[in-house]
């Protein structure tokens, strides 16, 4: 057991989660300025959406290219209800989540009849239809002007969410809830069904998994995540335009997911953090970030398709297997007796 081993073991313990949460809670106190807190809050909001994408794409294996569209639906439902119809923030927030689930269900029952490439292309078109509707339907969405003066979340007189730091904690709370829910889903029978579908439709069907029902469920879960994130985004940024539905956001989210590790639990968070702060430290890249991200996507899928978290888990699993083998052969040499096959660390791949 060397230091490296100990550190990597620590990453897998529940204590690590506590360390992360404590670090996040303390972040506003150590942050250099308010802008950094704002960037972090925004990153949490995006991370929530990426968790949604991870459910349909990472767990269930269906590349959904309309994800940014559902993010925009959440943002627009909140904005339209609060600004044009005078709803309270939290009622509109709930409505945004419900709208995301509803539209997700409708899009899901049509699009999930298609497989692989067809599904990806179809959802790309769905995302574009959402964009065009938001851009052209001026009576409802204010068209290209966008919606301004969106109210901040209602703090019921206790907290003022127009300030950055309280909003940061709000975003953090929702993010932790999202991760918790994602963990529950991943480790449940439902999550295992999703993974079976990712491996093979036929395999899953032969195990008695209802393909359509599970896929639609994964899709609805993911769009709900996206629209909740979109609603939070509207509450944080407080003005939105048709650009929120641009397919570029979907591609951003794919980058986050792929960098962090597709299909892993902590991947979406790690990827969003890494890329957000990388972009922030390379400010000049903001407009041309795709010059770096594009080749990065290609290099990642060719050489590191498992991302940061996935590669770490794989490395750890290999190390543990090697250690076990070494231990076994030592034992063999000592006792000179055949050992029974030891259950390998199959858990390693599942948790992070």
């Amino acid at each position: 057991m060397n230091a490296l081993q100990k550190i990597s073991d620590f990453f897998m313990t529940p204590a690590m989660k506590m360390v992360l949460i404590v670090a996040a809670v303390l972040f506003p106190f150590v942050a250099g300025n308010e802008y950094q807190i704002y960037v972090m809050a925004l990153a949490f909001v995006w991370a929530i959406a990426v968790y949604g994408m991870n459910i349909i794409t990472g767990l269930c294996g269906q590349l959904n290219l309309a994800h940014g569209g559902f993010f925009a639906i959440g943002a627009y439902v909140l904005a339209i209800l609060t600004v044009d119809h005078g709803w309270g923030f939290w009622w509109a927030f709930v409505a945004a989540g419900v709208a995301g689930a509803g539209f997700g269900f409708l899009a899901g029952i049509v699009s999930l009849r298609l497989k692989e490439h067809y599904f990806a292309i179809f959802t790309l078109c769905v995302g574009f239809i959402i964009y065009l509707l938001i851009d052209k339907w001026e009576e409802l969405t204010h068209g290209a002007l966008g919606i301004i003066n969106i109210p901040a979340p209602n703090g019921f007189g206790l907290v003022d969410f127009t300030e950055t730091t309280p909003f940061y904690y709000l975003a953090l709370t929702f993010m932790v809830l999202s991760v918790w829910l994602a963990a529950r889903i991943t480790n449940s029978l439902l999550g295992r069904s999703f993974r079976a579908i990712r491996i093979s439709d036929d395999l899953a069907a032969s195990l008695g998994i209802n393909l359509m029902r599970n896929k639609v469920l994964a899709f609805v879960l993911s769009t709900t995540y996206a629209s909740v994130a979109g609603a939070l985004y509207a509450g944080l940024v407080r003005f939105i335009g048709p650009a929120e539905a641009d397919v570029v956001h979907t591609f951003d989210m794919i980058t986050y997911l792929l960098v962090g590790g597709i299909g892993t639990l902590m991947g979406p968070l790690v990827g969003t953090m890494v890329i957000t702060w990388l972009t922030q430290s390379l400010q000049f890249l903001e407009e041309y970030r795709m010059i770096v991200f594009g080749p990065l996507l290609v290099v990642l899928v060719i050489f590191f398709p498992r991302g940061v978290v996935g590669s770490f888990l794989g490395w750890r699993a290999r190390r543990m297997a090697a250690a076990q083998d070494a231990g076994k052969s030592q034992e063999n040499a000592k006792k000179k007796s055949p050992t029974s096959p030891v259950a390998t660390n199959r858990e390693a791949g599942n948790h992070a």
Binding site: L63, V110, H117, M290, I291, L296, L297, V298, I302, P305
Partner: protein, 305 residues
């Protein structure tokens, strides 16, 4: 914006007899359809060989338009020389993509190809935008005459588009059916293992297919750009429509791409004119949603997917 010329032409003749307007839309549909067909052909060829939905195809189309624009405006070259230069450079670019990206991913799960293709697309667009800016440019053309055929006015460039596109399709058809090299592509699309058994070199066929798809995209772009505009995001809408077309026509099917292209072209021309110009671009996607909701296997495909 795409059919600025359209609406100008249409407004000039508002008040004319309905038949004239109708024929004008037929012409528009034919123009749009032949360009869509060209782009969809490249896409469907690549899909037939590698089973990769090449999301970067629209970016290749965009690069083709820029190469033509630069050769003509900055180097003062002739329209046809610009078209050849653009065809060659985009073909080389497409082959590079195949070698550097799609070939290493041949054994990877299908989701990886798609993400890599998206990566190429993002990269090419960002590069062009950094180099030339996001502004709209108008490509010059030597064919600015307006022809007058039986009371109908037809811009010469549109005639050129229709003739050029269908001539290229005919050449491609002859190449695929009558030459040995063409047959290897068809053989590989029909049955990969069978093609290997008779000694067809997969790498060579894949490179050739990408080169052809690049040429089709570049020629399509050079033909269409003079009545359209040149800008970094010009491939977005087109690639999505091309995908709609090849889904409708059956992915990998060559006649399907041409017929599908004409269907979408006519639907847009008539829908844009008789229903709403604002929502013209939605028509293709609405058609796709409608058709796939009723018949998830597409219009012309056999078997299940």
């Amino acid at each position: 914006m795409q059919d600025h010329a359209n609406s100008v032409a249409a407004s000039q003749y508002r008040g004319g007899i309905a038949l004239d307007l109708f024929l004008q839309q037929v012409l528009n549909g034919l123009t749009l359809g032949s360009i869509y067909g060209l782009v969809a052909l490249g896409l469907t060829l690549v899909y037939g060989i590698l089973h990769v939905p090449n999301f970067a195809h629209g970016a290749l189309y965009m690069v083709g338009a820029y190469v033509s624009y630069i050769t003509m405006v900055d180097f003062g070259a002739n329209y046809w020389i610009a078209m050849i230069a653009s065809a060659i450079s985009v073909a080389v670019l497409a082959v590079l993509c195949e070698r550097l990206v799609f070939n290493p991913l041949r054994e990877a799960p299908p989701i990886h190809d798609k993400i890599a293709a998206i990566g190429i697309m993002l990269f090419l667009e960002a590069m062009v935008q950094m180099k030339f800016g996001a502004e709209f440019r108008r490509m010059p053309t030597p064919y600015t005459d307006i022809l007058d055929v039986a009371g109908m006015t037809i811009p010469a460039q549109r005639v050129l588009i229709i003739i050029g596109a269908f001539a290229l399709m005919a050449v491609l058809h002859l190449f695929l059916k009558k030459t040995m090299t063409g047959s290897t592509i068809v053989a590989m699309a029909q049955n990969r293992e069978g093609a290997f058994l008779v000694g067809i070199d997969a790498n060579r066929v894949a490179m050739m297919t990408f080169a052809i798809s690049g040429v089709l995209a570049a020629v399509g772009a050079t033909l269409f750009a003079p009545i359209n505009l040149v800008y970094p995001a010009m491939g977005h809408l087109l690639i999505m429509k091309a995908f709609v077309i090849i889904i409708l026509g059956g992915m990998g099917s060559i006649p399907g791409a041409i017929v599908g292209g004409l269907i979408i072209g006519f639907a847009e021309a008539f829908g844009g004119f008789y229903i709403s110009t604002d929502y013209k671009d939605i028509i293709a996607f609405a058609l796709l949603v409608l058709i796939l909701s009723v018949k998830p296997t597409g219009l012309f495909t056999k078997g299940v997917r």
